[in-house]
Subunit: 358 residues, 3 copies
């Protein structure tokens, strides 16, 4: 998804030394959407949103060929709220988010060494393996009114109770080398609690997870599992997703379940999504239907139907619109777009926006 449109010309500036194959790429997305969102009487209109088609960002990345199949690299990727000019929150301990008024490299901040044969080791803040299936196999890429995350990381899920649902700080990651279509990664991230910590909290915020997939021709399929340690009950999540391309149709499906374990009141939720991206002329139509439910006595449930159209003005620039509707039942109060949910009320969201990649 992250295309890197601009290469900063790399010239040797270290005195007297020539540096082969050095480059730094400046990349980013600016995406703003006029969004109308409402839910029952307690509606809310978040009139300008950032990232209805892709999340806005500004980043710097580079690689260095070390010879012999070895490479070093870094990524500094800053989330942006284009509507206000602010940044987005990160977490220092994987337990609470920091306040987010200034810009941070909250999306990704890593240094890595990679080998063609042995894979890549990556240190820093990064996306967790368990997030990728939710976004890669969502026709909306988890952005905007139709985001799969409205349900898959919404208020009925356990994942919504931890800050490691999307990314983790203080992480050590490993990525498999390319091998016949198989791909995979594992991550261990630390909560960095000072010892002696209050009883049982020593591991709070530690995350461990992995993802394994296979992509060849029209098929892409992957599964992931991960756990965030918490004294109040570990939160684990597992998911799998797949896409299959037939002509102008790219079909997608995902299934997930998560659970709060070892807790005073263990709980679970599960959900699924089917959808497609349908190419037509200069654009494509993303469509999806998804459901989520928890294991409460009432079996709270929510369902989302979303349709959109993305009109490409170029490879980098598009105008788009999305309509999404969430139906809540049995006491559910799921919503989108940052709107506080209302029990058993329908939520609707409408996006009309511009997305520009640079």
């Amino acid at each position: 998804m992250q295309k890197h449109a601009v290469v900063v010309c790399a010239l040797a500036a270290v005195s007297g030394a020539s540096m082969a194959q050095s480059s730094v790429t400046l990349f980013g997305v600016v995406d703003a959407t006029v969004q109308h969102a409402s839910q029952a009487g307690a509606s809310a209109n978040r009139l300008l949103g950032a990232g209805g088609n892709q999340f806005s960002r500004l980043g710097f990345r580079g690689t260095e060929d070390l010879g012999g199949g070895l490479a070093a690299g870094f990524v500094l990727d800053m989330g942006l709220n284009v509507d206000t000019g602010t940044g987005a929150p990160t977490s220092a301990n994987n337990q609470v988010n920091l306040p987010a008024t200034g810009t941070t490299f909250n999306r990704r901040s890593t240094v890595s060494l990679s080998s063609r044969e042995l894979g890549e080791i990556r240190l820093g803040r990064d996306f967790v393996p368990t997030y990728w299936n939710i976004t890669v196999f969502d026709p909306f890429g988890t952005a905007g009114a139709g985001s799969a995350a409205n349900l898959a990381q919404g208020s009925l899920t356990r994942v919504s109770t931890v800050v490691t649902g999307l990314r983790a700080s203080n992480s050590v990651g490993y990525f498999l080398p390319a091998m016949n279509g198989f791909y995979g990664q594992a991550m261990y991230a630390m909560g960095e609690n000072v010892s002696p910590a209050p009883a049982g909290t020593r591991n709070d915020g530690n995350y461990a997870g992995a993802r394994l997939g296979y992509a060849a021709g029209p098929l892409n399929v992957a599964a992931a599992y991960g756990t965030t340690s918490l004294a109040s009950g570990d939160v684990s999540t597992g998911n799998l997703g797949a896409s299959y391309t037939v002509g102008s149709f790219k079909f997608m499906a995902q299934f997930y379940r998560d659970a709060k374990e070892r807790a005073a009141a263990p709980s679970r939720s599960r959900g699924w999504l089917v959808g497609a991206q349908i190419e037509l002329g200069q654009g494509y139509f993303p469509v999806s239907y998804s459901q989520v439910q928890d294991n409460s006595a009432a079996e709270r449930k929510a369902a989302q139907i979303a349709v959109g159209y993305v009109h490409n003005l170029s490879k980098r620039t598009a105008v788009y619109t999305t309509y999404s509707r969430i139906q809540n039942r049995n006491g559910a109060a799921v919503s989108g777009g940052g709107v506080p949910g209302v029990v058993n009320a329908n939520w609707t969201g409408l996006d009309l926006g511009i997305r520009h990649i640079f």
Copy 2:
């Protein structure tokens, strides 16, 4: 004012695709001034200031030619306090400023589509139309000790009571295409209040404004009007300004009035400025005289006289000095440089600084 001194070389980095006419520009200003400011016994010496000639900033901008007279573009423009390395505040709801320790793209954060024939639509955070006349027709460009904003947005004005005096978040803007010297823009920005909001506050922070101007040969003239909605009383402001160049003299004048309407205690203020930039040798002298007064029973008044010299070492680098004096009468307590004002006391400010554009 924002000159873009550096073009990052744009090379095609999207795999297998060539991208014509893509470019990202890195631009900025670093300006620091040793400022001495004092007012009566309660003086204050803010000894190093940022932006005595131009406001310090760091930004990224780019445009993409979409063909057929269409273009896409973005600007991410970050205010800087060079004296401390901090950023500047922005607002999420156009009602209160966020704390400002980290850097943000508070100056401007927009994505836009433009057509040679139909004009430009722009989404994000941007300058309000009603700010431009105050800065464009000020010989000091509202920067430093002699800034027209000391009076025009100072403590006697209604504009000083809202955060939308300079810029607004969550905005949708429209700009006229070029047409025989006429130019114009309109902006609507949202306070994004969640509903149900407390009685009467639903529209708080909404801003609507427009500006229309004409520039040809030596003449530039423009008028603007805008209103910020607030349950405690809407704040509206109108202004007009003009400049006329004769030889080495660029004369400037502006007039403004603002009002708090629908309030328990409606109030108004109005003011004007005359000044000039006088080119001489390698530099120019900015000079201005301005007045402001409100409609209180005492008719509080302030007047400012400011003179400066900007010595260009190159097109991008200058050293400068400014002397400014504000006289307060009838209970006014206007000041500059962030100094808390003292009733009926004179304020003086002296800048000696370096400005470098990149």
Copy 3:
């Protein structure tokens, strides 16, 4: 230490004007270390740290040749916590650090004018002269588990009680021009207290300091002295350091003392370090031994021994490891890596990391 690996291609973008010899450099370091630190029973594992070999940063710098030996320049240098994507704190008044969740140009934020014959004047936020000897003559460059700053700016010192130990905001600096191996600088930085300030606090946060050195062939030697004004007692520090290169050995030594003066309870501390960087094959071994003690009745003391290995994969990329041990005596509680110290307990730190310069 700050190598500038990438030059952004500078093209003339100012309308109709050509700009000779303009350039902006994008530079940075991403360094992440898996660190294990512990001290007695109250150990702490900060499992991922940022900057075990060099401090992580992202910066922009540029110079402009003004002709006749004159040049203008700027540096905007942002500290990074690669482990979390956050920035680092700066100070607005040289008295307290601001909260540090967003990124800031805390490392350096300056604009300057320089002359080949008269030297450089520099305005903004910058390193203080009294910091350089501590880092330049430390085989570990004050980074990671073996940092000389663990002792030299640790809890036994007076310098640790002020925020001007490393850098100062609101500063005016002067640097000598190059002259036969001699180099030097002086800085005055302001606390910018508003007047009338509470009794005696008018100068709080003001810093004045200077450094003078000589470098020729294998020898580099320098001395520095500086004072931070505080109503509660001025904090002054003096230090000197030297390095001498013989074949593969670069020997280093430093001595420092600091004092809190004019205080209700004046106090002092002093310390020294000896060490070396030993080149071997593709890398080098930094080693150091240092001591610090204060003048309390107990004469609290701490000693540190540190050894490391830095393996260069290229000029820009290295993997490294450091082992450091601090011994506390007579009531001292010195520690490293941000761990709260434990009285009379040994602290040990172990780094294993990757450093990449771009």
